[in-house]
Symmetry: C2
Subunit: 157 residues, 2 copies
DNA sequence: TATTGTTATACTCTATAACTATA
DNA sequence: TATAGTTATAGAGTATAACAATA
């Protein structure tokens, strides 16, 4: 046995988490420079590219629950990157609009994160990166298709 | 543009986290059946396969900081899966030993997690899974090689 | 009755700083 | 003084339950 965690490394799930956990620390640093977190950057990206979005759409696009969006949007608003305007057609909802500053910060943060993102896949060919993306998407799809089916019960030991 | 998060999906980091986050929820469920969390399962695996391990070795092998190991080992000990015996050659350290129950629970949990782990990569060929593992390892390696070098400064905007 | 946003709360994973008891 | 384990604390990411306002 070469490595202490040989058995764990047979599990795709273990490798996924270990790699992701390591890589996310790197992205945290990049975004922190812009006063952002990974989630606020992701939200800002969507708001810049789809102005007028609702918070619930944001939640669905980012695949996180609505309550988690509140703090994210509050942060972006307080930082002056996003404005919440009451939607004219539905007074319950907010239309999320990027400010000019928000667009600028987004562009800068994106420009800084792109080389970091490329750096983490250094040594992989474009084809290999594409294959990685495809594999990751497939896993996500598999889990949503299978795991969401809470009909099926894991047998108790 | 097909998808709201088109730009985010150009980033390997975004896909990594999104997929991992989704998949980990699935693993949480499996391990919960055995009274385990992902981290306690990982620790139990190492202790079963390398009896006598120290907590600091555990921390290094799992790539997490030592303070985080304490709660993990306490949990395993309270569940009767692991014993902490004072190392005879160093009274500061513990030799971590799996109990008979610990070995049994490990075997059962592993047997249950393996099909789930295979299920998340359903539709991928063994070669594609191997390529995925290689890519993930490479990313982890890249980040440790690059990001650990805190000599280099991200320029302030 | 259903949906939008919200509050309150909690759990997991992880990190840093500073302590203790050995070595 | 350095190391093994510990305590205390914090922060990020995520989830669920229940509520108000509006549809």
């Amino acid at each position: 046995m070469r490595c202490l965690d040989h058995t764990l490394r047979t599990l795709t799930g273990y490798r996924l988490q270990r790699t992701t956990s390591t890589a996310m620390a790197e992205f945290n640093r990049v975004f922190a420079v812009h006063g952002l977190r990974r989630t606020t950057f992701a939200a800002l990206t969507l708001i810049v590219e789809t102005p007028g979005m609702r918070q619930s759409q944001l939640a669905e696009a980012l695949a996180i629950e609505r309550p988690n969006i509140v703090q994210i949007v509050v942060e972006l608003e307080q930082a002056g990157l996003v404005e919440r305007k009451t939607a004219k057609d539905d007074r319950r909802a907010y239309a999320l609009q990027p400010t000019a500053t928000g667009r600028r910060v987004f562009e800068r943060a994106l420009a800084q994160v792109q080389p970091v993102d490329r750096a983490i896949t250094a040594g992989l060919t474009p084809d290999q990166v594409a294959a990685l993306h495809k594999a990751l998407d497939r896993i996500e799809w598999n889990v949503r298709a299978t795991g969401a089916a809470d009909d099926f019960e894991v047998p108790r030991p």
